[in-house]
Symmetry: C2
Subunit: 436 residues, 2 copies
């Protein structure tokens, strides 16, 4: 072990740390004269250092015991680094093309060393704000979601693998924490789940010191959210699912800020909120944030670019994401229907008609979960504590408020009437209707 | 520790064990000359010894590493004694009137020492077969279910208490395993959950060497279960809830053989299948087994007693059980709505209209879960591996088959159409309809 107890690193002590950590020092050929270190964390919870040497590079992410953006007023367990490392390993094993490789994990220091996603990788959200099209985005994210969600669910796993904390060999999990990625272990990630419960499912629906919105324009809209009986009834059902349903090992924070992209590469990062929860929470997070990106476009339009074509690309990406996910997920299901997964035993369900009915039922519920969670994630970004740069970067408050109001209107419809939507194309129509 | 490693006790070694275990020896005043020991286990998984001395008594229950009735062909973790002890402590703390007190627990020996439920206590199932009315049964069982289920759910607990395996103080859990009764801990009870998954949700719906039924009378009925597409679709949904939904610390096997009664006393025993699961599984187990008892009555009728009055008492008990449970559960909810439970935060839901809507929605879903799980429990007792004495004690096979067929018919209706039932009185009508 490099350092005997936890201490927050700075650029100087980081070098000391690398020197005594062979997994890291070997990456840069043990040469320190010309290494470049840059702190780039723009999240709320961590320090992130890029380390580039002559012969290689990596990223160091260290979790601190509080929410960074609120200084030290909101304590937050640094154990989240552990859950992040385990989830990166597990999801990376299932989908190595879209998850950065982990080189090193130090639980004492709450520190992960992983692949540096070199330029031109940028955070997807910034690309969406800039109006950049990513032709493979829907394909890549859908394959990531299909593989990670399917393969950590009871459609693929036995109930023993799913539940047990010991004595289980999980394929593709490396030596890091061989048996960690099962339900019992992730019960420990309770603090980050609590943060989600509060900021996503609770605060936006009550008066809270943390809430904010584009005032005074949205004062009435924020109040309407707090007074909407049906909305609050529905969000309670989603919260219950979030807290109680251990469907798969989900990323837990799969918004467009947790994805790094180039034209050809899509990398999912930051799974520190990972836990065994409902699949629709991940799919909804991604799609909900694409919808926010869509509604923000009018605020980014200018004389040179009215963003109309780009908005169509976003809509197509939303539609493709769900449809491709559906296709890949059910293909995995068909492929593994005679495997060890225990949700639907072949001896009972190995009948084409029944198999079809079961998939339809499962995918329909997953679609409605996706819409509900996606809508909840949208609402909290408009009237809750943490906003998104898509809207925040629109300088003119009245224009920003118009964009946000449309997004909020759509989100309320999706959350309250999600069961009436039968396909993603109906959702696209609803988005167009609100936009027009 | 009395014995350094696990060994199955017999009547002789049990005395040695008691002698070196002060918690037990003190119960009988350290006198061994006149103690009486009787082995009474009629379950499938354990040895049970009644120990009666001059100055006191207790029961010793020891779990063996296999299912007893199948000799050693079906290995079964003896760790279930641990889950049973923890659940007895937790449920006993919440509802001491209806759970026997635990005096001693020895994890190494998989052994629990607890209150001896002295005569005239008998197993409820035997009382139902004998046609004995228990005027307080519905009241007692409903208060047990309301307290244990409400107080281990997110309606009463914070999400931290619910999930975390350490660092949490749970009210009313004694020194035995202070922090054990939380979700992470019960993830370990995976083997007994697996047994349930197999015998309740899987085997009855496929060809299995373990299945049996009153043949040849029910051959067609058993086949019809295996061929019923809608039934299998619905039972898959229930299985998924059973495997994935951590709603409360449930008993896990609350049939009429897990309840001991006198006219005035009702004691719930044998929670070795306890885990964090769906509440409706407990309520359904109890009500489903009462329905089995109802349909078995025609097989027990004779010239001296046509059982008509008794059947009405069973129907009333079914109706009262749900209605009293509903009343007590929602009363607990009203009483604690401003407490630490995190499912519905007062700041969001403290509005009488909304509170009412939420309770109605919650209780409606719980009612439908209850009917679904209850029906699944009925079906597995007719065409699965383990049958119930209610039917087994009907000697004439054709009469037994008639009784079983009616119960099966009702169960299929309940399972497939449970969402159409709006109240327990409609269920009673359906029972009468099948009976007539």
């Amino acid at each position: 072990m490099a350092f005997p107890e936890f201490r927050p690193l700075d650029e100087k002590s980081l070098v000391e740390y690398i020197k005594v950590t062979p997994f890291l020092s070997s990456k840069i050929g043990d040469k320190y004269d010309d290494i470049k270190i840059k702190e780039v964390g723009d999240g709320n919870l961590n320090f992130v250092y890029i380390v580039v040497g002559a012969s290689g590079s990596f990223v160091i992410k260290q979790a601190l015991p509080y929410v960074r953006s609120l200084t030290e007023s909101w304590p937050m367990t640094k154990e989240r680094a552990y859950f992040e490392a385990v989830a990166l390993k597990e999801h990376g094993g299932l989908c190595p093309r879209h998850v950065p490789e982990v080189y090193h994990f130090d639980r004492t220091m709450s520190l992960i060393g992983m692949r540096y996603l070199e330029p031109p990788h940028i955070i997807l959200r910034k690309g969406l704000i800039a109006g950049i099209e990513y032709p493979f985005l829907a394909e890549h994210v859908s394959v990531y979601m299909a593989k990670t969600l399917f393969c950590t669910s009871l459609l693929y796993r036995s109930t023993t693998e799913h539940k047990r904390a010991d004595n289980v060999v999980i394929p593709n999990v490396m030596a890091l924490e061989r048996n960690a990625s099962v339900l019992a272990e992730f019960c420990g990630n309770v603090e980050l789940c609590r943060l989600t419960e509060q900021v996503v499912f609770s605060d936006p629906y009550k008066v809270s010191e943390y809430n904010r919105w584009t005032s005074p324009y949205l004062d009435h809209d924020a109040e309407a959210v707090r007074d909407d009986v049906i909305l609050k009834l529905e969000v309670a059902e989603l919260k219950s699912k979030f807290c109680e349903r251990a469907q798969a090992l989900i990323h837990g924070d799969l918004h467009t800020g947790s994805v790094m992209v180039t034209r050809d590469s899509t990398q999912v990062i930051d799974p520190e909120f990972a836990f065994y929860g409902p699949m629709g929470y991940d799919i909804g997070a991604f799609i909900g944030n694409l919808i926010l990106a869509f509604f923000a476009q009018d605020g980014h339009a200018d004389q040179g670019n009215d963003r109309k074509i780009y908005k169509e690309w976003i809509l197509k990406t939303i539609e493709d994401t769900w449809n491709l996910f559906h296709q890949k997920f059910t293909a995995l299901w068909d492929q593994h229907k005679d495997g060890p997964g225990e949700a639907y035993l072949p001896a009972i369900y190995n009948n084409p008609e029944l198999q079809k009915l079961i998939q339809e039922k499962y995918m329909k519920e997953l679609f409605h979960d996706t819409l509900g969670f996606g809508a909840a994630k949208m609402i909290r970004r408009i009237v809750g504590v943490a906003h998104v740069e898509d809207f925040e970067s629109i300088k003119e408050a009245s224009i920003r408020a118009d964009c946000e109001r449309r997004a909020l209107e759509l989100a309320k419809t999706l959350l309250k009437r999600r069961r009436e939507f039968l396909s993603i194309s109906e959702v696209i129509s609803a988005i167009r209707h609100v936009q027009s």
